[in-house]
Each structure stands twice: as C-alpha cells, then as structure tokens.
Symmetry: C2
Subunit: 492 residues, 2 copies
C-alpha cells in the first residue's frame, strides 16, 4: 500500500477508503460486507458510546439486552416493519454441523438439525422487544418504559462501504413505551435533539433536524425524525433517526396497560438509533488530503509527543522533561501519548499521527531543552508554533478547545454555503449535479413527484426541516402548490 493518500479532488470515494485503511480504523473481512473494526477505529466508537450512554442515562434511560435472533413468526407480526426488512435478512435454519462423509476433515450442515422455525438475525429489534414488553407492561405504573440496547445488527446489503453501509454493524437502539401519544412524540423529538447535540458538540458535525417524507420513513413508523449531515463531497449523510411508532407495535404484539381510570389502552412507542456509520460521517466531515482529522473530544489520542534526539543520553534528558508534562496533561484528563519508539524516525512518526488525525503534536529536541521551549503543531490547520515549556499545559488546554471549535465552524460554514434555495428545476439540477449539498425546494407533497425527481437526479428528500420556512410556493418539478420548502440531496 502506497504511503500517499489519493487526493479528495481526484477520487473522493477512493480517498475515503484509503484513509480508513491507512489510519488503521477498519478493514473488510472474510465475510461479505462485514468489517473488522481495528483498535484505533474502535477507540473512537468507545468515546462515542461513552458520551451517548451518559446522555441517555441522564434522560432516564436504562440499558438492557435482548436476543440476537427473532423467530420468524414474531418478525412478521408487524407487517410494514417485516416487509421493510425482509429482503435483507440473514436467516438461521440449522443448529448443528457434522463431519462431511464425502469430504474428510470438512464439516457440513447436519440435515437432521433443521430448526422448526427459522430465526432471523435481528436487523432491528422492535419485534423481539415488543414481544417482551407485553410481559413487562400491565399498568400505567409500568410506564414510561425507557430502554436502550447496545448491540450488533445484520442487514444483508448488496453494496457495502466501510462504516457507511455494512452487513453487520454496531449501534444502539432505544425502545420506549408511553401512556400518551404526546409523551411518545416528545420522547422521539428529545432523542433527535440528543443526537443533534452529540453530533454538533462532540463530533463537531453540524446537522439539520427535520422529519422524513412518508417514503423515507422507517418501516413501521408513523413519523421519522432525522439528523442530516453534509459531507465534503456535497452528499448528505443520514446520521441518526428517531421514530414515533404510534400504536403499531403495541397492536401487533397486543401490549396494553390499565390506565388510572381502569380502562385497557394500547401503549404508544418510539425507537431511535445511531450506529458505527457515525464514524464514516466523522471522517467525511473533517479529514483532508493528509489524512484523518479528529475533533479533540472524540480523539483516542489528543496529544502526541515526539522526541527529536540522537543517542540514548539525549533521549534520557528529553524523557525526563516530558514525564512532567505527561503527568500534568493526564491530571487534566487529556489523553497523551509519548512516542519514544526507537524503530521509527521522527519524520515517519509525524506522518503517522497526521494520517491518524491526532489533534496536537508536540516535538521536543535537545535545542528545546536548552531554550525551555517545544514545538506545537495542530492537525486542523497544520500550523506550528514554538512555546515556552512553562506555558505548555495552558496552551494545550486552550488549543484543544480551539481546534474543536474551529472544526465545527469550518464545517458549519461549508454546510451553510451548501443549502441553496432553488426555484426552478434547472436551478435544482444545477445544485444537485454541480454545486452539491442540499437544494431547498418546494415540493408538491406527492410520492410520484418525489420518485420522479429521484429518477431524474438521484436526489432524495433528506428531510422536511422542523424549523422550516413554511412560506407556500410552487413545486420545483410540477409547479403545483406547496406548503413549504424541503431539503433534497444526493445521499450516502
């Protein structure tokens, strides 16, 4: 593998794949469409999990764990949901292997060990969870039920891309039950807000909040709230969704509660999830032609210190000086690595941490020891400065915040420049085909028009913004009346 990264302007898709491999984030596995998440990539996911898990718990949710498998009869109970996922289900049909009598040393499926009922590997867990909730919910006192699960799910995708679309992926799925429609709606919107806050504060990835058109809704939902991010190549990324499920699953699984007044009522439901896809969004929001760029709040290593030395004696003096800096930074909760490997030269280390997107790199050599200085390089702007060793802790603390802010500001400025109001189909195509980003356009509200536009331009309705400019107008394709503008884009 060449050390040099393909430039984004040459081939964005190739650049994306290369950055994942070269920064040691993930790789394809021997299983079609399934990835191996390597330690550095997984460390980013762990940081994401920790923040999200905290936010979920602070809003009253508890974690639990439900089975990987869904019996077919449960899977098909909520018909729309089943229909939506049927075409991408991995199915377990047997529970035993045996020696292959025709092929020594090999195994085959034991034909005698066929399951009476096939098991679906969960593509999402509404069915198995709602079947369980039936036993947990009797009275209004049992509600709201606010549960989250961290899990792997499988959707047999035909075209896969690392992090963005893989046959198996890791995610969290929240599943809540409520006494009233309004409470469930508020929950679904609350989780959309939490996702947006996480994306913007931690990932430094600005998002548009809105809801989906009917044809883009989650299978089985009555409303899907989404956060949509914009990647550097002008394509949108659905980064998280939160669904108001109405009483669909309660009815499919007969989940009722006794109200305070003694009547039997179906409960109201939500579900919501984000996945390892977020790592794809993180990469495509900030990274550059030199490699990954990570926001400090999610960087597994926030600061790396590289010694510049000749001989062990110089290294000993530098190491001694560095040990104090390491201690001070760690006491501030800053994750810092001192790379004193003698098997690589400083230049190779610089390139490695640039590729891996470490926010701040410190270099310290013998002349720095004499001068009481060190060199600080920031990954986002690639700027370097020499600072006094006395100021290094304050400087790093400030710089981490500055980098986090700078990444967000850069991304939101790019995003804002790529939401374009269009008033004709010519303008629409110009945005979609050339400028990229979101086209904010009037739409007549019909699935036919939505499909036609998709067919003509590959753009889909990413969302109907929640805070939309609700001024009426005329559909960009049909000229029919429209209530409000919606956001179209090509999407991952």
């Amino acid at each position: 593998m060449s050390k040099k990264l393909t430039k984004r302007s040459e081939d964005y898709s190739k650049w994306y794949n290369e950055i994942i491999l070269k920064a040691d984030l993930a790789e394809n596995s021997a299983v079609r469409g399934c990835m191996v998440i390597k330690p550095y990539g997984f460390a980013i996911w762990e940081k994401m999990q920790a923040e999200l898990d905290r936010m979920f718990k602070e809003t009253g949710h508890q974690n639990a764990y439900f089975p990987l498998f869904v019996p077919k009869s449960l899977f098909e109970a909520e018909e729309k949901n089943a229909e939506g996922f049927a075409k991408e289900c991995a199915v377990v049909t047997h529970y035993r292997l045996q020696n292959d009598p025709t092929n020594e040393g090999k195994l085959r499926v034991d034909p005698e060990a066929k399951l009476e009922e096939e098991l679906i590997v969960r593509p999402t867990s509404e069915a198995i969870i709602w079947n369980t909730y039936k036993g947990w919910i009797q009275s209004y006192r049992d509600l709201p039920l606010l549960i989250n699960q961290w899990a792997n799910v499988v959707r047999w995708e035909m075209r896969t891309r690392l992090f963005l679309r893989t046959s198996e992926f890791l995610w969290q799925e929240g599943h809540t039950a409520h006494t009233t429609k309004n409470e469930a709606l508020l929950e679904a919107k609350q989780m959309q807000d939490i996702y947006a806050e996480f994306a913007e504060k931690f990932m430094a990835m600005p998002v548009v909040k809105g809801f989906k058109s009917e044809s883009e809704r989650f299978a089985g939902a009555e409303e899907t709230y989404t956060i949509e991010a914009l990647m550097q190549d002008g394509k949108a990324l659905q980064a998280g969704t939160s669904h108001f499920l109405g009483q669909n699953f309660a009815k499919a699984f007969d989940v009722k509660y006794t109200s305070k007044e003694g009547s039997q009522e179906f409960v109201w439901a939500t579900s919501w999830g984000v996945s390892t896809r977020l790592i794809g969004g993180l990469i495509m929001t900030h990274s550059d032609d030199f490699g990954l760029v990570l926001p400090p709040k999610l960087a597994p290593i926030q600061v790396v210190i590289v010694p510049i030395y000749k001989g062990e004696e110089q290294l000993a003096v530098i190491s001694n000086k560095v040990s104090g800096i390491l201690k001070s930074l760690r006491s501030k909760g800053i994750s810092v690595k001192f790379d004193d490997r003698d098997t690589f030269r400083p230049g190779a280390k610089f390139a490695e941490y640039e590729l891996k997107g470490v926010p701040i790199r410190i270099a310290i050599g013998s002349r720095d020891i004499e001068n009481n200085t060190l060199e600080i390089a920031r990954r986002d702007t690639l700027e370097k400065q020499t600072v006094s060793q006395d100021d290094v802790i304050d400087c790093i603390e400030n710089l981490l915040e500055e980098i986090q802010d700078n990444l967000f500001n850069k991304a939101i400025s790019f995003r804002n420049n790529h939401i374009t109001e269009v008033n004709s189909f010519e303008e629409f195509k110009e945005v979609i085909d050339h400028k990229g980003g979101f086209a904010s356009a009037h739409w007549d509200g019909t699935i036919e028009t939505e499909n036609k536009i998709k067919e003509l331009t590959k753009a889909t309705i990413r969302c109907i913004p929640g805070n939309a400019n609700e001024k009426p107008g005329f559909c960009v394709l049909t000229g029919k009346e429209s209530d409000r503008r919606v956001l179209f884009a090509k999407a991952y």
Copy 2:
C-alpha cells in the same frame, strides 16, 4: 408470581430461578435458550465490564470488533476447535425472506437466496480473528498483538439455565499473539490472575486457580488455565478460562512473522474469556432466602433511602434533609437512590430492596428528623442500627467496605471448609454425594479413570491446582501411582 422466595434448602435450583425473576435480573425469551437481560441485571454486567475493561487496558490490551459470522471454510480450518464446537453451531444459510405465496401476510425463506457458503454464528472467534491476524502480523515489530473484544456469541445448548448456560451469551474474548512460547504462557497466566483478582476483589467470590485436565481443555488449546468458584449448594462453577493455544491457530491460518534475525516463524497464541455466566456465580455465592445479596463494588444501587412519612408536609421535611445526604454520598462516588414513590408503602419498598440485594438501606422518619438520627440496615447480616445524621457519610463509607469484606470472608470460609482431602473412593463418594464441594484426591492421570469417576459420581476434575500439594500418592479409584492431588467436584 408469589412474593415469597422458595428456600434454598427446599430446592436450590428453583430458588436460583426465582431470585433472577423476582430481582428483575433476567428472563427467558421467545427464542429457545436465549435470555433477556433486564435493566437491573444489565447494570451489574456494566459494572463488571467497566472493571474488567480497565484491568485489560492497564495491561496493554486494546478493544476491537470482529464479524459475528464465520464462513464455514474458516471455521473448520483448526480441526480440534471446529470439532469441539460443531455440534452447537447456529448456521445462517439464507440472506432473504419473501412473501409466502401459500400463506398471505406471512414470510418464508427465499429459496433463491441461498448462500454459496454457510456462515456460522460465532461460538468463539479464534477462526475469524486468526484469519484477520494473518494480514496484521508480518514482523516481530507487530508483536505482541494484544486484543480484546466484547461481544455476543451463540452456542446451541440443549439444556439452558439463565446466566449459567444460555444459547446466546455476552462475553469478552481476548486474543493475543506473541513471538515466543514463554511470552504466550505468561500472558495466559497473567489473564488468569486478572480474572482471579476480579472475582475476589469485586465479586467477593473466592476462586481456586489451576489448569484443566486434557479432556476438559478448550478445543484447540494446549493448556487451559481456569478459575473455579464454589457455589452454596456445593457445586463448582468454572468462572473464567485462559488458554495457551500454542501454534495451533498460527499453523491453521499460516500466521508467521519475520524475526529480528530474518527467519520466518509461526506466532504463539492465547485466548481468554469471561461471560455473563459470572452473574450466575455472583448470585449463588452470596444470596440468601430473602433474595439477592450484592457486593457493594458491583451493586448498581449501593444505598437506598426510604422516607417514612404521613402526608406531603412530612415528606417535604424529610426530602430536604435527605437531599444533603444524597449530595454528600454522590460526591464520594457512592451510588444512592432516594425512593420517594408514593405508590408503594415503606414495607413494600423494604421487601423490594431486600430482594434486589441493595447493600445498605436507610430509613428516615419524622422522629429521626427530631432526633437527628436515621436507621441503617445492612443487607448481608440484616442488622439494623440507629446513627446520628452527623455520622452518616463516614458510617456508610465504612459499612460498604465492611460488607464487601464480610461477603468475601464468609464465602472463603465456606469454600475452605468444602475442600476435603479424600484418600479412598468411599470418602470421595461421601464428599461428592453428601458434603458437597471439592474433593482433593489423587488421580492416576488417565482419561479412563477420569471418565469412570464421572460415570460413577458425576464429578469431574475441576482443576489441577497451580500451587498444588505435589506430594505423590495413590489414585483414589485405581490405586495406581499419582504425582499430586487434583480437585474433583460436581459442576454447573
């Protein structure tokens, strides 16, 4: 479900199941042999995970994630491992469902969507991981490779019990690669030590460290190190295992490295794991006829405060007083819950927290407000004391430590009283059939004798203690010569 728990002396197995259901830890699911881990049970698992994960990282391990599925051809590559797990493998054969033409509204497996190669749902991940390591390991510089994975695995068990033996379970599996045999052996033993430390310090569950006889070894291992705990009913529980895999997987997957000297060498391997089975061990080590008893270090709620009041005015006064206590306890990192629900009486709350094993319960009523006192009840001894509100924080801190120590001391005293040296097969049977616990006996070292003893008594060799009394003697069954005593017991 009756509120009263079956007594251990009446039916230990029934008591075990009831405690899990009544304390809201887990339940059986609609999928044969798979459990639902409920929020309270999952919170215990999260506490276990946090400590183990910290210990793994402190010893240089990193987390990663590998695919759920193993293609059959990889699965069968290491023959002993494959043979060991073949009979309990869930197998994915198809990747799509379709509408059932003979049964409207129902789905069936699409016969056109048959996989070319079947996928095994991982029962353990050596095969998929070693196939991946082949690409990661080229040089001695890439070693040691110290990776851990938190994941679900599936072993199609015929007889299942909540936590102890379920078709799907959660675990961690470490998989490491080393340049030398000795380094791999040290790693395997280090992880056994970490498991033992975790069991004893956090679970307050004493364990015997040792290694397995050949017939009880992990399929594909050259040595299996184990920690064995003793349950209250005298049966042993294998609580964690760490395997020295020799070069078996390196050879099966052709994983070689270039040594410093330039030669090509196969790497040496270990793997090690603990699972949600630990929760079963935790329950059966400490709990009593009143319900669960949790060691403070793993209790999701360490302290519960129940107000005793009549009317809102009294509650307001108590709540005001309690808020200061809550704040002080939380600032010490103590997890405390104030249960001011008005839908349950104090007596019902007391019973609930007793069942759930909350280590300390505080009751505070109007008279306590007058007297500046409160009542503290500890779950392990069920003792109560009245203390001054001024002393409550110190008192709780000390008591949590005392309870943790007391549980361990009680358990190790029980365990030590149940390791019995036996010198005849009569004595052996007496221990196994009546007294329970471990029989420390001489064994002639043959699989035949091991099998015969199992057939006659249902006892198996739990381990050959690492620090064994290595005095020679004569086999308890055959009278043949023996190097050392080994521990036999009936086991879960």
